[in-house]
Amino acid sequence: MTTATPKRPAVKVSPRKEQARREFLRTAGLALGMAGASLLGLLPALGGANARLRPPGAIKHRLQEQEFLAACIKCGQCVQVCPVEAIRLADLTDGVGVGVPHIEAREQACDFSCDGLQCVLACPTGALTHSIDYPAQARMGLARLARPDACLAAQGKGFRGQARGPDFRGRLRYEDVDRWNPIAVADHPYDLPLCDLCVRQCPIEIRIAQCESGKPPSGDPNQCPPRHAIRLEPLADGVDALPRVEDGCVGCGVCEMICPVDPAAIVVDIDRDADDPIAVRGGSA
């Protein structure tokens, strides 16, 4: 190295050559700086820090999101069609996940009130795969009773009032109120002798009930979920009950959103689903 580039060359370098040399060094600096910045964007993805609950149909290969992040063109068309505005786009802190859609279930879960999986239909790149047609086919995650001791039903308690308080802005579609427009959860108070909100508001359970009464959603029997997602299992004392997640759960997050205790007794794990109930990374959201 030292012989190849002496500090003070004996022969005088022409100014033109010197200028070219400096330009080359500057340019190399710019290139390295920008390459470094772009590699920084990979860190959140490699550390799994940007793992999030994704909209229905998000491509998952063994529950890893790499393909989903690759396929997403970051246009937000899924955001625009969602009737409950459940979908948000991630910020720069998600690195290569910037502009990719996700759902914060506790604040606004996907309640499938569009019926037709509008976000999937809107996706131009297949990042939300068109291979699913009905809510029951979604595999976003899997609900889990994280704090059984906090669960009102487990204590034999009922629930009266606004599920998440007067200031909660989340919305759900209540078909008996308005078939087409979701309303604020705060505008729909409950009076329940035994709290069963997570079962009562489960979009899969609602569909099963509709189908059983002979009125499938949109009059389409294909909309009928084949399996139950959650049910309330009575305990030995005959008073208390525990919500039990079944293999029809799609991980939409409505149970996590509606759960009146804080923090929610029931949450959605994003690293497993009904087809793959063993957690891949071990963690949960």
């Binding site: 290139a31 920008m34 390459a35 690759a70 063109i73 502009g99 297949g126």
Partner: protein
């Protein structure tokens, strides 16, 4: 040299070629000889410029372009805010009245990273390909990209500061943009992530306008600060692969171009001073023209600043087979 190879050389950052005297055709040599006879004095040149500056259509193309750019980006915003489903999505991928459109560079990054192409993306890519091929050059850059407009205002600030010695224009080798193009393509293929999209101020700004601001705007601000203080229009000139993607499309014998006519040109260089990619205007230097009329290559963003500034109308928009563009 064909329009295509000339454009390609511009896009990869090669030095513009100086024609040897025998490469300059007789009629062009006659034009140059005629000009040598009556060279304009500096004062006469300034007088012509001054006269032109006062003319009513002085910023015609710039105003049309700014209005178009703002309208295009506003349509996305209005469409979402008012829920009228006119233009859904963002600049990276959208649906115009239900018809798929995909930004060519974003689509390319997705294809390289994901290694699958779904039909909708293919449709969107084809639509946009045809659109920008018709318009030619890097028309997307100056007529649609929101970063271009903001960078243009930052550039005005840069020039003011530079005039007082408070900022400088550090030059880099233009070829680095082609290097970045390959690097970003390789990164997408190798990592399986659309790495460039993390940095793209075009995507960040488009989404910020439509879905609301976020931290990502800090990156855009950092880029602008770099351009104002350190290097004029650095992102568009030296880094952005979107420019190369559209440049490649626009180099395929497009019908609309900016055309240079050597006959009335004073060679004073006003056009190169306002141009973001002044190497495309090297033909306007005395002794460089190889034809009376020369089409400006595809690295040109068709911004029209040179057409606006030219005091002798030696630069003009032309449609092949149709003559001048109003």
């Amino acid at each position: 040299m064909s329009y295509f190879t000339d454009s390609l050389r511009q896009l990869i950052g090669a030095k513009p070629r100086k024609p040897t005297p025998d490469q300059i055709p007789v009629e062009v040599r006659a034009v140059y000889a005629e000009k040598r006879k009556e060279r304009l004095t500096e004062a006469a040149l300034r007088a012509v410029e001054h006269e032109h500056d006062k003319s009513p259509g002085r910023h015609k193309w710039r105003n049309r372009r700014w209005m178009t750019l703002i309208l295009v980006n506003l349509l996305f915003v209005i469409s979402y805010r008012l829920d009228i489903q006119l233009v859904e999505g963002a600049l990276t991928g959208s649906r115009v009245l239900g018809f798929h459109m995909a930004d060519l560079n974003s689509a390319l990054q997705v294809m390289l990273a994901y290694k699958h192409v779904v039909l909708n993306l293919l449709i969107g890519t084809t639509t946009v390909f045809v659109l920008w091929w018709l318009l030619g050059g890097r028309t997307f850059c100056s007529w649609a990209c929101p970063y271009h407009l903001i960078a243009e205002w930052a550039e005005a600030l840069h020039l003011k500061l530079a005039a007082r010695g408070w900022a400088r224009d550090t030059q880099f080798h233009r070829g680095v943009r082609a290097v970045f193009y390959v690097v970003f393509a390789l990164l997408a293929v190798l990592t399986g992530y659309t790495v460039f999209e993390t940095l793209s101020p075009t995507g960040i700004l488009s989404r910020a306008l439509i879905y609301g601001p976020g931290l990502a705007l800090l990156w855009v601000l950092a880029l602008l600060a770099f351009e104002v203080l350190v290097s004029r229009r650095a992102w568009c000139r030296y880094i952005c692969p979107i420019g190369i993607t559209y440049g490649l499309v626009g180099s395929l014998a497009t019908p609309i171009r900016v055309q240079y006519n050597v006959e009335s040109c004073h060679h004073e260089g006003d056009c190169r001073k306002v141009c973001m990619v002044p190497h495309v205007l090297d033909v306007t230097i005395r002794g460089r023209a190889q034809a009376v009329d020369t089409d400006i290559g595809a690295d040109c963003t068709r911004c029209g600043l040179c057409v606006d500034v030219c005091p002798t109308s030696s630069l003009a928009f032309k449609v092949k087979g149709l003559g001048g563009l109003v």
